[in-house]
Symmetry: C2
């Protein structure tokens, strides 16, 4: 080779190389997104969700449940504090823990019976001789009931005092029940009422009773309502899932949730506390719960006319209404005496908060919570939910620590304290972080009792939650038939025909029965509550029978409620799936259009029930109809925007903009001025309602009042509440409309 050739070759090669360089650099389209941009536009990883679900281990859930239910762990007791330590240590575990875990304490107002001076219920003759006394404790049927830490059955916050008088039977203690008795010319003044659980809230029974002069209340669970009629020991726990004759449902006896002395403010040391006398919604009269074997002794000896059929129960006798006992009974002219010695006290209660920081949007939260405190061992309520939460956090924590996963958004787990005393831990948390949570929370998932029974998923939530719950439940299969999904099984058990989707599982609505209440009603966060439940065709029990009794134990849970923990496993898979979708989806999977069905239904109900009277008062429903139509149009626009998104190519701020619209939709229904007399209730769609008409609660209740009084002021309030409803729906539309539509 001569020199020129080499030079020529080098030159030629250089030119070609240069051409290559140029083409390579400019001609071949490089991935146009930098690393961070890719991460920003990453969508939920379906493979990871499958992996998570595979790893949900029913034996592990069983082990958690066993640990959580070792001791009765009523709020603020040593056993409750022990569980604080247990949960903290799991969430801080180096190999399977979260990014951070801590306890947050509040000084909360609680109420306990006096161990030395137990509440009691007696039958006493006019001469003062005790003829009978109700049991102070449930029977020892398994080893569990021997625990000296089991709290005597009682009603927390029921006032102290002695009440003695003739016994009357007042069915479920509804207002209508007492009206029924009064209509029969029964003089209720000075009487003691015995009522069954069900039909109305616990404390409402005593508040209603007191209005008629009743001075004390006894509450029991009728076997008809709780046991499908079963009453005998051989038919009840420990021989079946039914409540034994000595079983007593404990419970909180007050209307409002949250710490009673610090409404709207976190119960910190510095916080101003109202006076006990200023607390609203407490019972004015003493009350005590008793078992149905004791209730039977009392009710079956009542004199007076027989109660109407619908009042009769399964105690094995005709229920007379009283007042007083039959003359030919051993009790004849005796009274019933109730002595209540509950002590109200301020105690330090802990929430345990566990945090996984989001990789992309740390300032967007998905909350997942359950309470920790129980009345006794609380295997089902709440430990079935806590065990599920622990299993989920263990799997996710492990992935996190292994560096295999970090959610797009932050996940906040809450183990709430003192729920049984009225959702206290969750409410104080919502109060303390009001702004931060309200501005940033995508959704709250509550799994309290995770398994009531083995038959079907039961989900409650606000409409936007339906979409993600459906998506998750379609991916979980039932244990006996791997071709049957939780979704399909749910649809078989409980369904409705949706105008847009046809036949779908029926999602329930949320009241204020668990820790979602402050997040929904006060903060306006999209909430849901998930559990497995029973087949209403098989049992008519109004609750799982040993709810709030000393028989809600690990033995009960593992032998009768969920042998093998397969339902726990399905709930963990479903709830975890929901959690991951909310935390990891590029577009938040909330179905805002699903509010349309609620709004349409509310409108129809209002039209059907109110319109003719409203017309005569010159109050028009048309602006409400217009607002709902505007909401529908806003959904169309937003859906169109989402449909046209080239998801992973869109700018992260555009994705965020849309996600904020989806997240904030629920917030737009909040109006802190709407219900000045209802503590915390600010959600115009879901606030509490007395009227039976299922429509906007403020409108329904105002209408009911106006029809009764026919006063102009009350009709003005109807118009006012119609305005509240219209502006809430318009605000919702505004949230979904283009961000620059102002």
């Amino acid at each position: 080779m001569n020199g020129w050739k080499i030079v020529g070759g080098v030159l030629g090669g250089s030119v070609i190389l240069a051409v290559g360089l140029l083409i390579g650099h400019f001609g071949i389209s490089k991935e146009t997104q930098p690393t961070w941009a890719k991460q920003l536009s990453k969508d939920v990883d379906e493979g990871f969700i499958q992996e998570f679900m595979r790893e949900v281990d029913k034996e592990s859930i069983g082990r958690y449940l066993r640990r959580l239910t070792q001791k009765p762990h009523m709020a603020t007791t040593p056993a409750d504090e022990d569980l604080v330590t247990v949960i903290l240590s799991h969430w801080n575990d180096l190999k399977s823990g979260l990014d951070e875990a801590k306890e947050v304490r509040y000084d909360v107002f609680l109420s306990f019976p006096d161990k030395k001076n137990p509440n009691n219920v007696k039958v006493v003759t006019p001469e003062g001789t005790k003829k009978f006394e109700c049991k102070h404790a449930e029977d020892h049927l398994t080893g569990d009931q021997n625990d000296t830490d089991i709290v005597q059955p009682y009603l927390a916050f029921a006032p102290n005092g002695t009440a003695k008088g003739k016994l009357v039977y007042a069915n479920e203690g509804k207002l209508s029940d007492f009206q029924h008795l009064a209509a029969k010319m029964i003089n209720l003044t000075g009487t003691i009422a015995i009522v069954r659980y069900g039909g109305t809230g616990r404390v409402a029974k005593a508040i209603n009773a007191a209005k008629f002069g009743v001075i004390g209340v006894l509450i029991y669970s009728d076997p008809k309502d709780i046991n499908d009629g079963k009453v005998n020991p051989n038919e009840t726990y420990p021989n079946s899932w039914y409540m034994p004759p000595s079983g007593v449902e404990r419970g909180s006896f007050k209307e409002n949730f949250g710490d009673q002395l610090t409404p709207y403010y976190p119960a910190k040391e510095f916080t101003y506390r109202i006076k006990e006398s200023e607390i609203k919604g407490l019972s004015p009269i003493p009350a005590q719960p008793i078992g149905f074997e004791d209730a039977k002794v009392l009710i079956c000896n009542l004199q007076g006319s027989p109660a109407v059929d619908s009042w009769q129960g399964s105690l094995g006798c005709v229920y007379n209404i009283g007042p007083g006992f039959q003359e030919n009974s051993e009790f004849n002219s005796s009274d019933v005496e109730i002595n209540v010695y509950n002590k109200r006290t301020i105690r330090s209660s802990a929430n345990v908060i566990g945090i996984i920081r989001g990789a992309v949007e740390p300032d967007r939260y998905v909350l997942y919570g359950n309470h920790r405190d129980s009345w006794v061992h609380g295997a089902i309520d709440p430990s079935s939910g806590t065990a599920v939460m622990m299993e989920i956090t263990k799997i996710l924590g492990t992935k996190l620590k292994e560096g295999k996963w970090r959610p797009r958004r932050s996940i906040i787990f809450g183990s709430w304290g003192a729920e049984e005393f009225g959702l206290i831990g969750s409410t104080e948390f919502a109060e303390e972080y009001y702004n931060k949570l309200k501005e940033r929370t995508v959704a709250y998932i509550n799994v309290d009792i995770s398994v009531f029974a083995n038959a079907s998923l039961r989900a409650q939530g606000t409409p936007p939650a339906q979409n993600v719950i459906f998506a998750a439940s379609k991916q979980v299969t039932t244990p006996l038939d791997s071709s049957l999904t939780v979704y399909e099984n749910w649809k078989k058990h409980s369904n409705r025909t949706s105008p847009q989707y046809g036949l779908i599982p029926e999602m329930g609505t949320l009241g204020s029965g668990s820790d979602y209440a402050p997040f929904l009603h006060y903060l306006g966060i999209t909430c849901m509550d998930l559990a497995y439940t029973y087949d209403k065709g098989v049992t008519k029990a109004r609750m799982y029978p040993n709810y709030h009794t000393a028989f809600d134990t690990f033995d009960y849970a593992s032998r009768f409620i969920d042998p093998g923990f397969t339902s726990h496993q399905m709930v963990a898979r479903t709830a975890g799936n929901v959690l991951l979708r909310l935390a990891d989806s590029l577009i938040v999977p909330l179905g805002v259009r699903d509010y349309m069905e609620t709004l349409d239904r509310y409108y129809s109900k209002a039209e059907e029930n109110f319109q003719s009277n409203l017309n005569t008062k010159n109050i028009s429903l048309i602006p409400l109809r217009n607002a709902i139509n505007r909401y529908k149009k806003a959904c169309d626009t937003l859906e169109e925007t989402i449909k046209n998104l080239k998801k992973t190519e869109e700018t992260p701020l555009k994705i965020r903009m849309i996600n904020d619209q989806l997240m904030l939709l629920e917030r737009s229904f909040i109006n802190h001025m709407a219900f000045p007399d209802k503590l915390y209730y600010s959600h115009v769609i879901w606030a509490s309602r007395s009227s039976s008409v299922v429509t906007f609660p403020g409108l329904a209740d105002a209408y009911e009042k106006a029809v009764l009084s026919d006063s102009q002021d009350d009709w003005n309030q109807v118009h006012h509440h119609l305005t509240v409803a219209i502006t809430a729906v318009e605000s919702a539309a505004t949230t979904l409309e283009r961000v620059t539509d102002l």
Copy 2:
């Protein structure tokens, strides 16, 4: 060449080309950010701000002002509607308009005098003979006062009626003024009080008066307060900027802002309206404003003892307190009779909304607004501000239409209706878009009266606004000395020593005097109000003298207030600069640490004034101190995060996260439960306050009440309001702390 060589050469070339391709593609670092990523991380363009400021044209502002002041344009009158059209057409202009402009209407409750039945004030003898009557209109001093559309001087919402009685002079009509008279054993029952403007709010004078039995009120501007003592026609307009003897300040006569019939709800057709009798904060007695030449006739004829020195004014006589006229005067035993025939009515009032959509963050808003309605021609109030706004929108609109600029965030301009009747247009807008604005607004800039006088910038705002106002005012120079910035000039006129910055211009605080009020007090948006103002060393006038009179004309503005419109120009440059910084800065230029000085000052005042008494009541200020320290620490953390940001390299969502913390800080001081009796006031730092102690208003007022009554309930309220303050500061800290700190 043989075939192999060719093949070899091709092969060799191919390999080299491939190497080149590979190196070119992978080896040469390409710009790692895609186009959209670059745009997302773009910071404010200082060159563009300079260009904007250069283009602000004083002649153009003058032309806008002339157009805006052609006719008296009281809210909802044809001339107001004409201006709606004018502004709309400018904002919709194809070459210099905004992206969008529209009118948004509300049906609002207003009050006007009756043209056919003018309000009147007379002196009448016991026999009913009229001895004197105050003027019904201002003198015709320039052509402008000939306009038949000039509204008679009146007080909007002052109730109709006739009041006749002996005249008393009650200074400024403060509560203490009437107490002073009562202490002198003056029987005020059935009297008419004449009071000067100043010292307290307009309607407060009548509300105070009525408490002492006064049945009618006259209000006038004393030359001492408004004219530096000048009273003669040759010393007053049209010969100077001072108020002529016939000038009368009109005004709204009510305590609360917003539409009075629809509190908290937009005044739409469908909105429920409360009854007039349910409106709070109106005057219970008729009232009418008069000119000081008429006031002189009344006051200088009063009998009784001379008023104390501080009550004396500049009418040229000794002010006696009455009651009644001097016996040796022509009025001797005469009464003063007031007849008010105002008509309350619902009228359609328009806001004009102009929108520039943000390029990067369309869902973050910077609001800029001013009202459009005036009492008469309103050259200064509000057209000086509107002219500035029109100049700003013209320049920005032109840049927009030329494709040279689009802001990062959306800019919303508001030309508010019916401000003079109580900030109605802005309040209804804030109510209608409550959620959308609260969730997304970075700041609200208000420029109402843009030029009171030519001496110095005057800025009011919440602390976070100080930073951006300082930055802008340092870039604007004064017309007479190009080395003197607006900032330095401001500092010369009004300054304070800041613990952190040393000597700085003094920014004022915001009350509820203009359209920022609903945004600040109800929504918790960082607000500011900008204007040029007078030198307090040169004039003691409590307002620019022709405020709300028929002399506030283009002639007045252009000859006396701002000849050459140079102050208008400086305000336009400053406000526009602020606007651009807020809209375009990558990191929102709000100084959250500046709240520390307010909190520290509030704490010191509380400690100094309340601590010893609080100690005796076992109420500790320490938790408040702790909360403020926590706030300070949160500022440190956030500032550290911002300092360490590699601004343009950070992910857009991290930038957004920080910006949201800055934006939402002000929101964390909002507590809708804090002041249930104060309409709209929800800002725990800036709510209205009666106490003279400059600290947390709820705490100060509760303390004042408790000290007076010394009742336990009132002390409990002190503790309650201390809790309100602590939780607000803690919530503020929470907002600035790490987003995952929960």
